[in-house]
C-alpha cells in the first residue's frame, strides 16, 4: 500500500512540475523554429508542386502512401497487400487474384521497406517494390500508374523482413527471412530449432522490360534471424549484405536468449557467384507452392499462377560466395554507403556503430584470414574487416542513410535523435532530437549511388503530444529536416498513415512527367469490356447474370434492368467510357457484400452482387463526377427465384 501511495504522490507532483515548466518550455522551443525561415522552406504555394515524391510504407495498413516533400502533403494511398474499399482493390473480380497466396486469400499484410528501381545504382523511377512481412510476399508497383502490378509469394520464408531491396541495375529484388523455419516445412518440436531450422535469402529476378518477377534462387542459410539488408554498389556491386541476430539460435524468450553473444554477423553474399553457379545448372529444384499474381494493364485484370518449384542453393556448394562479418550487439540496420566501400551495422543494443570496409573484407577473404566457421561458412576476423566505429553517444542505433556529400545520418531509437557523422573520420558532426523514438529515416536516393541530400525525413514510432489528441490511437509522426547546411535544421512535423517503416524518395521531375493520366479505351482488352454504349447488354448463364455496363457523364447504360432473381449471382462489368484526365466514376449497389468500385477512364471493373431480397434496388455513381452526378443512377428489379420474368434492360425507354 505504502508503495502505491508513494507512487501516486510522486506522479501528481511530477505532473504539477510539468504544468509549471513544460508548457512554457514548449512555447520557447517552437519560437526557435520561427526565428528562421523554416515556414517558407516547407511552404508549397497553392497550385505549386513539391520537389520530391516520398513513398512511405504503411506498416500494418499493408499499403504504400505517397507524400510530397517538403510539404508533407499526402497524395495517395496505393493499395498493395490489403483490400481497399476506397477503390475496390481486392474486392473487384479483377483485383481479387492479387491477394491469393498458398494460404488462400490473404487480404492484409504488414508492409515494410519500399525501394525504387535503379539503373547504374541511380533511381530510375520505373517501379517501386515493397515487402509483405507477415505472409511473405514482394510487390511491384508501377510508377506511371501508381498501382500494384505484381505480387509474388516467397516460399520457405517467414517474417519477410530483410526485404525488398534492389541491386544496382534492378537485376534482383532481394527478400530475406526474419524467422528461420523448418525447410521444407514439417511437423517437428520447436525446441529442436537449433541446427534444424534454416533461413532463406531469396533473389527474385526482375525482367528489365516488364518488371516481371521470378525467384531465381534461394540461399538456404543457418537458422539465424535475418533482419535487414542492402546491396553492394559501385565496387561492391555483386555483393549483398544481411544483418543477423539470434546467432544463438534460441527458440524461446528471444529478448534474453538472442542477446547472449557479444557479436552477431553481417552475412556477405556474393550473389554474382551464386547466379553463375545456378546458370550453370547448380542448385536443387525443390518442390514448393507459392502464388504469383500479375495484373495486366490491357485486360485490367489480375491472374494467379501457383508455382510448384524453387531453386535452392546450399552455400557450402558455392565456395567463396558466403562469409560472415562479426558485428556487435544484435545489429538491426544494414546500410551501404554510396561508394560501396562501407557496410554499416547498427547494433540496436549498443551506443556505437560498426563500419566494415569492403576492401578489408576482400583482402581478408583473399588472405583466407578466417576466425572459425559457422555451419561451414567462414567467419572473417572482426579486426580485419573493421573500418571504424562511430562513438555516437546516442542509444539504440537503428538505420543509416547518406547525403552523397560524405556524410551519414543514423537514427537512434532510445535516445530519440538523428546523428550526422562523417564517413572515413567517423566523427559526429551534429545531432538533432526527433519526436519521438525514431525508426527508419529517409533521404531521397539515400540508399543509392546518387542521393539527393537536401532533406532527411525521420519516421517516428511514437507520437504522443505532437498533434491535437485523437484518442489512444494516433498516426505516427514524421519530421523533415533541412540537411543542406552543416547542421540539420528541423523544419516541420507531419502525420503519416499506418506505421511507416522505411520510405523511399525521388525527385518529382523523374516521375511526374510520365504519370499516366487515363487508360486508352481502344487498348482495353478486358473480356467483359463495353467499348461503346451500343455494346451494352445483359447475358444470363444459368444462375449467373453478366451485365455489360458502360458509364459516362452522367448515366449508366443500361440504367434499368429486370429479370434478375433471388439466388442469382450478378456481375456488374462496368467500363468507364471517359477519356479525360481525372474523371473516374464510382459504382455502388444496395446490399453489396464486398465493396463499391472506383473505375478510372478507359478501365473495366467488375462487382459481384448476390441479391437476397425481392424488390427494386437502386445503384448509383459514388464519385462526384459531374454536375449531374446525382442523376447518375439505375434500378435492378429482383424477382422471386421461381419467377419467369425475362431479362430486359433499357436506357431512356
Amino acid at each position: 500500500m505504502k508503495k502505491h501511495t508513494y507512487l501516486v504522490m510522486g506522479l501528481l507532483g511530477f505532473a504539477a512540475l510539468l504544468t509549471s515548466c513544460g508548457n512554457g518550455n514548449q512555447g520557447k522551443g517552437s519560437s526557435g523554429a520561427l526565428n528562421s525561415s523554416n515556414a517558407e522552406k516547407v511552404y508549397v504555394a497553392p497550385g505549386e508542386h513539391d520537389e520530391f515524391y516520398a513513398f512511405m510504407s504503411g506498416g500494418y495498413s499493408g499499403n504504400l502512401t505517397v507524400y510530397g516533400l517538403p510539404s508533407g502533403r499526402m497524395f495517395k494511398e496505393i493499395p498493395v497487400f490489403s483490400q481497399f474499399p476506397t477503390s475496390g482493390y481486392g474486392y473487384s473480380e479483377e483485383t481479387k487474384p492479387m491477394l491469393n497466396t498458398s494460404h488462400g486469400f490473404v487480404p492484409w499484410d504488414d508492409s515494410h521497406h519500399p525501394d525504387i528501381s535503379q539503373t547504374n545504382g541511380e533511381l530510375d523511377g520505373r517501379w517501386i517494390f515493397i515487402n509483405g512481412n507477415n505472409t511473405p510476399r514482394i510487390a511491384r508497383i508501377s510508377l506511371s500508374t501508381f498501382e500494384t502490378e505484381e505480387i509474388i509469394e516467397v516460399p520457405n520464408s517467414a517474417g519477410n523482413h530483410s526485404s525488398s531491396f534492389v541491386t544496382e541495375n534492378t537485376e534482383y529484388v532481394v527478400a530475406g527471412t526474419r524467422f528461420s523455419v523448418p525447410i521444407p516445412q514439417r511437423d517437428m518440436p520447436i525446441n529442436q530449432y537449433k541446427g534444424n531450422f534454416q533461413g532463406s535469402l531469396s533473389f527474385i529476378s526482375v525482367d528489365p522490360e516488364h518488371g516481371h518477377m521470378d525467384i531465381k534462387f534461394q540461399i538456404i542459410m543457418p537458422g539465424f534471424n535475418y533482419d535487414l539488408s542492402h546491396p553492394g554498389r559501385g565496387k561492391s556491386h555483386g555483393w549483398f549484405f544481411f544483418t543477423t541476430y539470434n546467432t544463438e539460435e534460441a527458440s524461446t524468450l528471444q529478448e534474453v536468449n538472442s542477446s547472449q553473444n557479444d557479436k552477431d554477423f553481417i552475412a556477405a553474399i556474393n550473389w554474382k557467384k551464386v547466379e553463375e553457379y545456378v546458370n550453370n545448372g547448380g542448385g536443387t529444384k525443390m518442390p514448393a507452392n507459392y502464388a504469383h499474381n500479375v495484373y495486366d494493364e490491357s485486360t485490367h485484370t489480375a491472374t494467379t499462377t501457383m508455382k510448384k518449384e524453387v531453386v535452392t542453393v546450399n552455400p557450402l556448394d558455392v565456395p567463396g560466395a558466403v562469409f560472415f562479418l562479426p558485428t556487435p550487439k544484435s545489429p538491426h540496420g544494414c546500410d551501404v554507403d554510396p561508394t560501396g566501400q562501407y557496410i554499416i551495422g547498427n547494433g540496436k543494443l549498443s551506443a556505437d556503430l560498426t563500419i566494415h570496409s569492403f576492401d578489408n573484407m576482400i583482402a581478408a577473404i583473399e588472405g583466407k584470414k578466417f576466425d572459425g566457421e559457422a555451419y561451414g561458412i567462414p567467419i572473417l576476423k572482426f579486426e580485419d574487416v573493421l573500418a571504424g566505429t562511430v562513438k555516437s553517444g546516442g542509444l539504440g542505433p537503428l538505420h543509416t542513410e547518406f547525403d552523397g556529400e560524405g556524410n551519414a545520418y543514423t537514427t537512434f531509437f532510445i535516445s530519440s535523435e538523428v546523428v550526422k557523422w562523417k564517413l572515413g573520420t567517423w566523427e559526429v558532426i551534429d545531432r538533432k532530437p526527433t519526436y519521438y523514438s525514431v525508426g527508419h529515416l529517409m533521404i531521397p536516393g539515400g540508399n543509392s549511388r546518387k542521393p539527393f541530400g537536401k532533406y532527411v525525413v525521420a519516421l517516428n514510432k511514437i507520437t504522443k503530444d505532437r498533434y491535437l489528441p485523437v484518442g489512444p490511437e494516433m498516426e505516427h509522426s514524421a519530421q523533415i529536416y533541412d540537411i543542406s547546411g552543416d547542421k540539420m535544421e528541423l523544419l516541420y512535423d507531419f502525420p503519416t498513415h499506418g506505421e511507416p517503416h522505411y520510405a523511399a524518395g525521388i525527385p518529382a521531375e523523374l516521375l511526374a512527367p510520365k504519370s499516366k493520366k487515363f487508360y486508352k479505351l481502344a487498348d482495353n482488352k478486358h473480356p467483359y469490356a463495353t467499348l461503346g454504349a451500343a455494346d451494352s447488354k445483359v447475358v444470363r448463364e444459368g444462375k449467373e447474370v453478366h451485365i455489360y455496363m458502360s458509364t459516362i457523364r452522367s448515366h449508366f447504360t443500361p440504367d434499368n434492368i429486370e429479370g434478375v432473381k433471388v439466388g442469382d449471382k450478378v456481375y456488374f462489368h462496368i467500363t468507364n467510357q471517359e477519356q479525360d484526365f481525372d474523371v473516374p466514376h464510382g459504382f455502388a449497389v444496395i446490399g453489396a457484400n464486398n465493396s463499391e468500385l472506383l473505375i478510372m477512364p478507359g478501365q473495366t471493373k467488375t462487382l459481384v452482387w448476390e441479391p437476397k431480397q425481392v424488390g427494386v434496388w437502386p445503384f448509383y455513381c459514388t464519385d462526384f463526377c459531374s454536375a449531374l452526378h446525382q442523376e447518375m443512377q439505375g434500378y435492378v428489379r429482383v424477382s422471386p427465384a421461381n419467377s419467369n420474368i425475362e431479362l430486359s434492360w433499357s436506357l431512356g425507354d
Binding site: K2, K3, T5, Y6, L7, M9, G10, L11, L12, G13, F14, A15, A16, L17, L18, T19, S20, C21, G22, N23, N25, Q26, K28, G29, G32, A33, N35, S36, E255, V256, S259, D262, K329, L349, S350, A351, D352, G393, L395, G396, F413, I414, S415, S416, K432, P433, Y435, Y436, S437, K461, I462, K464, D465, K487, L490
Partner: protein, 193 residues
C-alpha cells in the same frame, strides 16, 4: 519496499526537488554556449520527458523523480541530460542507487561528476546502470551478465536470495510504464577498458 518513514519528509523533499528541477533549466539556458543555441534548447526542453501526461503508468524517470531516496540520482540524470533517454518506449531496466549509495562514494566524487566538464563521464556511469530489457529480480537469476546501455557488460550474481548486479544488491523493485526500476545499494562503476 522503499524505506519511506515519514510522509511529511517525503512531501518536503519532493517540493525541494521540484524547485531544483524548475530552476535548473533556466540556469542552464543562461549558461549554454551561444552558438547553436536553438538546437540546444530543443534538446533540453523538448522530448518525451516533458509531455504532460498524468494518467499513464509512471515511467522509470518519473519513478526516480518521485523518490526521496534518489535525489542524487535524479540530479545526476539531469546534469547528464539523459531525461529523454529514460522515458522512451523501452523496455528499460534501471538500477537506481540510493542517496546513501552515492554518499558512500569517496568524498567529492559526486560533486566532481556533477561538474559540466565531467558530463560525458557521468553519462557513461549512468548508462552503465541501464539495460534494454524488463526483468524481475527473480528472472534476473537466470542471467550471468547483462549488456548495459554504455556498451559494457555487467555481471549478475546470485547470493542466497539476493541478486547482485555489478556487486550492487537489489533492495526493491518498482514496475514502470516503460520497464522496471531496481533500487540498489551501491553505485555500479563501469570497468575501465
Amino acid at each position: 519496499m522503499f524505506p519511506i518513514t515519514n510522509l511529511k519528509a517525503f512531501i518536503l523533499s519532493f517540493l525541494m526537488l521540484g524547485a531544483m528541477f524548475s530552476c535548473k533549466n533556466e540556469a542552464n539556458t543562461a549558461t549554454s554556449p551561444t552558438q547553436d543555441k536553438a538546437g540546444t534548447e530543443e534538446i533540453e526542453k523538448q522530448g518525451q520527458a516533458f509531455i504532460d501526461d498524468d494518467g499513464s503508468t509512471p515511467n522509470v524517470l518519473q519513478i526516480a523523480i518521485g523518490s526521496p531516496d534518489h535525489t542524487t540520482l535524479v540530479a545526476a540524470v539531469q546534469a547528464a541530460e539523459l531525461e529523454n533517454a529514460l522515458v522512451n518506449a523501452g523496455p528499460l531496466m534501471v538500477f537506481a542507487p540510493t542517496n546513501e549509495a552515492f554518499a558512500a562514494l569517496p568524498e567529492g566524487t559526486v560533486e566532481d561528476l556533477l561538474k559540466p566538464e565531467n558530463k560525458a563521464a557521468l553519462a557513461n556511469i549512468l548508462k552503465y546502470h541501464v539495460t534494454a530489457g524488463n526483468y524481475s529480480k527473480e528472472f534476473l537469476m537466470k542471467f550471468k551478465k547483462l549488456g548495459q546501455a554504455n556498451d559494457q557488460n555487467v555481471a549478475v550474481e546470485v547470493v542466497r536470495e539476493d541478486v547482485l548486479v555489478g556487486g550492487a544488491k537489489i533492495l526493491a523493485s518498482v514496475p514502470a510504464g516503460n520497464g522496471i526500476v531496481h533500487v540498489v545499494d551501491k553505485v555500479m562503476l563501469p570497468p575501465t577498458e
